[in-house]
Symmetry: C2
Subunit: 355 residues, 2 copies
């Protein structure tokens, strides 16, 4: 079949929408229409175009797409890549995105507000179609401002009053309550929480929510109106120092609830080094049910909040918002207890999962 040659020198070897149009003998607009599944395309035209796309192995430029329309990319912002809980969220995101035509690009902010801001801006500048922010540090007003420019779903960010963006959370208050209830059920009364020492107490953060749940459950259990909450710094040398201090305290509590498995596991390790027996001298319960906690060597009881599901739900919410939903959604999941030997010597040592 003769193809009309427009004498247009193809200096670049890249296959563009124009190459496809020429090859199929149709207009650029027609190809674009087929690509976008737009209205007003006959079966014959569609066939011609898809054949040409196939033959030329055409891939639309995301950069050019972003300039005008959608880029079919969603950005995921992680606060920290070393916390083993976060990869689970990514896995969930990818599972939902897999069959769709969207792709995820991940940025890592390392818990620095400055970098977080600039990554969000970059993602907007890339004309990404939506953002999933995992445990962002920015205040709600700032997020709301960004949300005007791009659909946003925040995970691990407790602000159910936000109207500009969606949130997806495990119920961290309830999770902490479950932890305390489990300790109480084992007969422990002298209970403390080891929380995270952040510079500014971020009311929306999962950590603060867990503190609230801890306090409520303790009060409900009749254990004082202001139960003890210790703060462990995030930086490494001071972090272990604080834990050692806790472990060697004379009035060390009988049981401890750690805000995260990360801390609980380090605590377990230090306890072993210092000859503090777990659970005989000190019962420990963590949060996240990370893979390391499940190791027989570690055997850490933990609150499970399925990062995978969180990622899946967040992704679905984001897509629905991209496709036009405007009312904000705030989704909660209920965490559950995974009982292991650090809580009580339970005989077999196999996992016991309870609602």
């Amino acid at each position: 079949m003769p193809i009309e040659d427009k004498q247009k020198p193809q200096r670049n070897d890249r296959v563009t929408i124009r190459t496809v149009a020429t090859h199929a003998g149709v207009s650029v607009a027609a190809v674009s229409k087929v690509m976008r599944n737009a209205y007003g395309v006959s079966d014959a035209l569609r066939a011609k175009v898809t054949d040409a796309i196939e033959a030329l192995a055409y891939r639309p430029s995301r950069a050019a797409r972003g300039l005008r329309g959608r880029s079919f990319t969603i950005g995921v912002l992680l606060i920290d890549i070393r916390n083993p809980f976060l990869p689970e969220v990514i896995a969930g995101v990818n599972e939902v995105l897999g069959p769709s035509h969207y792709q995820a690009m991940i940025g890592v902010s390392d818990a620095r507000v400055q970098l977080e801001t600039s990554l969000i801006e970059s993602m907007i500048d890339y004309k990404m179609d939506g953002l999933i922010l995992v445990a962002p540090r920015l205040p709600s007003e700032i997020l709301a401002k960004f949300a005007v420019q791009i659909p946003i779903v925040a995970v691990g960010y407790h602000d159910a009053s936000a109207t500009a963006f969606d949130t997806v959370n495990a119920d961290d208050q309830r999770g902490a309550e479950i932890a305390v209830e489990a300790l109480l059920a084992c007969g422990y009364r002298d209970i403390e929480m080891l929380s995270l020492g952040e510079r500014q107490g971020h009311a929306v953060s999962v950590v603060r929510q867990r503190e609230i749940g801890f306090r409520r459950a303790m009060q409900r259990g009749g254990l004082g109106s202001s139960p003890a909450i210790g703060k462990i710094p995030i930086a490494s040398p001071k972090r272990e120092e604080a834990m050692r201090k806790f472990l060697s305290r004379k009035d060390r509590p009988r049981a401890v609830f750690c805000w995260s498995d990360l801390d609980a596991i380090t605590l377990l390790s230090l306890a072993m080094e210092m000859g503090v027996r777990v659970p005989e001298d000190l019962a420990v319960i963590g949060y996240d049910n990370s893979p390391t906690a499940a190791l027989g060597l570690v055997n850490l009881a933990s609150i499970d909040q399925s990062g995978r599901e969180l990622g899946q739900v967040a992704t679905r919410a984001l897509i629905s918002r991209i496709e036009g939903r405007t009312a904000s959604e705030h989704i909660f999941q209920i965490p559950s207890l995974v009982s292991r030997n650090s809580l009580t010597r339970s005989g077999s040592g196999t996992d016991m999962k309870q609602g």
Copy 2:
């Protein structure tokens, strides 16, 4: 009837390069020149423009930049986000990128060749300036084809003959030798390796390189011409089953070298469950020196290959290639041994048996 993608992008009065130009009373080209630090800009002009940029909080659109020039973004492709070694690489990348004007965007391929290809293509389509591929699965010819379109540095990919792209590796052969030498130095003679059971043996992969080093060191130590190498599948249920089988073998070796801490740590856990004492009954040495290995509870001897440094070096290599280098570079780092209790009871006196 066809489904039409409908979207109403909010009309946003974005600050563009044109806004800045008008505000500063200069041309668009002048602003672009200042942005790019190009030649032929007077101090007065520069001052006017930077003031306007500041006043308007102008951010250039990466999408538009990518269409014409550079996007100042580099793509990082991770084979798997759950392996705790990989976050270290990212950390190294971010450290080098931090002070520069480049930013990293990460894609996760989940070890699927199909997804890996499409992510690389996406990153090219985004007009990213360069790619760091961490332990890619694609064959060298394919990578070379991509490398024509975009600068590529492969990490954990042994192909020193590649001319189209750079490689950055720890010397995995040497690492395995060091592991065997350490086991020999402890007096163990009956040594096996537990390697990864991949579908197609990928000669460029770190795993195969470690097998080569293992064989060479064993032969050099006079321990047979074809030492035993077991294969552990990657999928979870079969994986533990294979390890249990190994641990309960009557002719189980006295010492084992695992290709990765991931496997070594699981092995340690199962050994404890099954009553196999480490190191008394079985000495174990891993690879990667991951944070979990360093835990007192785990205390796994391991070969350290500093993922952070690998990330840093790869990033510097990529930037130099983006800035014009054309000859390929193949960089090696020498790994080192971190001795811990899983290798030999070394005096710190920690007990592997929990309780």
